[in-house]
């Protein structure tokens, strides 16, 4: 099993509903967020191009954060989802420094926190992650890459896509449809 997510940059309008849904679903402490929206403007007026991306942890297959964690708190869970076990985390910050996407943050309670793909609270119950299910333009696809009929497999088969900083060698599992 290999969980992955695809975000359609052509459908995303940057409304930030995914951010609010995540904060509500996962009790993200006030002032923090596990996902965010990036807007890239390219060109010179009037020839402008815009790309909007809803970003979060890339759940990399070769995660620098899992590699550098001294206690094993950062680990690969079911389907390759990268998770942090709070009671094993010492809050040393190594994983935060190691993430090229700056996807992690220190939770006010001390441990390091990040996107979980809603693995335990939703995905294991057969639901989509909160950000995916709430998206008003339905621009996000989630599922198992090993299953050819999952929404994410289907959309990646038919569309052009990219990942973020593939040259960092992390093999990210968050895909952006172009």
């Amino acid at each position: 099993m290999r969980y992955a997510m695809a975000v359609d940059t052509l459908k995303c309008v940057g409304c930030s509903d995914c951010v609010v849904a995540c904060q509500t679903e996962n009790n993200v402490p006030i002032g923090f967020c596990r996902d965010w929206v990036v807007e890239v403007t390219d060109g010179t007026y009037p020839r402008l191009e815009i790309e909007i991306r809803s970003e979060r942890c890339n759940h990399c297959e070769n995660s620098p954060c899992v590699r550098c964690c001294p206690t094993g708190a950062s680990h690969y869970a079911e389907g390759g989802v990268v998770l942090v076990t709070p009671h094993k985390c010492i809050g040393c910050g190594a994983c935060i420094a190691s993430c090229p996407y700056d996807a992690r943050y220190p939770h006010p309670d001390g441990y390091v926190d990040k996107c979980t793909f809603c693995l335990h609270n939703r995905v294991e119950k057969g639901l989509d992650p909160a950000c995916v299910s709430v998206c008003p333009t339905k621009c996000m696809y989630f599922g198992d890459l090993d299953d050819p009929n999952s929404p994410v497999s289907k959309v990646l088969k038919n569309r052009k896509y990219k990942t973020l900083i593939p040259e960092a060698g992390t093999n990210p599992q968050l895909y952006f449809l172009l």
Partner: protein, 313 residues
């Protein structure tokens, strides 16, 4: 023109707008660890070579600093943790992939070994020292028998400690400035250099001071070579590495680095030591003090500048 902004207002504390997860604790610890590693390395080396009599400060006196240096360093590391009460989780596992893990275990070897080393030489400081308890005397006798073995343990573990202070940074490919394998040898050399400088400062014997000034001069030469090498590597690498090098070549860290680390911390003390060895007499403490301060500032600059360097996408 390409402009990239986070429109959902992400402002995660210590991450945005620029990563600042590590403050003064980590560079201070890396400096103290390197200094302790340097002192212990020379103590072990001259014990193994059988030169305790020629270099009494290096073998018997300077190591008394190391338990304190390591303890302060460990305290700084502890203060840096955000989930402090779980620090013991470090010692429930050994993960060779994680420099922080095997570094923590190295400290668990070096720190007790340095304390034992001091205990074996306590009579250098207090000639009438009495251990009071018989079992402590037995422990002392035991380690005295195996002093050469202990020296070997210290020699190897101090080298690992010294090189680890650099590898800790170089293992992070997310921060291009840190992501160079030169950083391990560079921090090791710098640690040995500050260790030699500390011995020069403490020694009352002219021949010993001269020997360590000569060693320090050689180490400074290697350090300068490694620094030039590091920048050559960056400038011949990818865009993010070139940008990382430019933090020091015209960017915000240019003046602190070239003035305080390279000039005041390496070039000027090297000149002073060279003149001293050539027979020009000057206050001998200036060069080692500059070397030690330079080593401290070097750690701070690398720690802070590294967090300012990043991949762009």
């Amino acid at each position: 023109m390409k402009e990239e902004i986070i429109v959902s207002g992400r402002l995660n504390h210590l991450i945005d707008p620029q990563l600042h997860i590590w403050h003064w604790h980590i560079p201070l610890y890396l400096f103290l660890g390197g200094l302790a590693a340097g002192i212990l390395f020379f103590a072990a080396l001259y014990t193994i070579l059988g030169k305790e009599k020629e270099y009494p400060t290096a073998v018997k006196l300077a190591p008394f600093l190391t338990p304190a240096l390591l303890s302060i360093g460990l305290l700084a590391l502890f203060l840096d943790l955000n989930h402090k009460l779980y620090f013991w989780q470090l010692y429930t596992t050994l993960r060779l992939e994680s420099p922080m893990s095997w570094g923590a275990w190295t400290l668990m070897v070096v720190t007790p070994a340095s304390i034992v080393w001091c205990a074996l030489h306590i009579r250098e400081l207090f000639p009438n020292w009495d251990w009071k308890f018989n079992w402590l005397k037995a422990v002392e006798t035991f380690f005295n028998q195996y002093k050469q073995h202990l020296a070997w343990v210290l020699l190897i573990s101090s080298l690992i400690l010294g090189v680890y202070t650099g590898i800790l940074f170089s293992a992070f490919n997310a921060r291009p400035l840190w992501n160079t394998s030169i950083l391990g040898p560079l921090f090791l050399t710098s640690g040995l250099s500050t260790g030699a400088a500390a011995i020069v400062l403490m020694s009352k014997k002219a021949s010993e001071r001269h020997n360590f000034a000569r060693i320090d001069l050689m180490l400074i030469g290697i350090e300068l070579f490694l620094i030039v090498h590091m920048f050559m590597g960056f400038l011949a690498s990818t865009q993010v590495h070139i940008e990382a090098a430019h933090l020091f070549l015209g960017g915000p860290y240019t003046v602190p680095f070239w003035l305080f680390v390279v000039m005041l911390g390496l070039v000027i003390p090297a000149l002073l030591e060279f003149l001293e060895l050539r027979g020009f007499h000057m206050p001998y403490f200036i060069a080692p003090v500059l070397v030690i301060l330079g080593g401290l500032i070097f750690r701070f600059i690398i720690a802070y500048a590294g967090q300012a360097s990043r991949w762009l996408y």
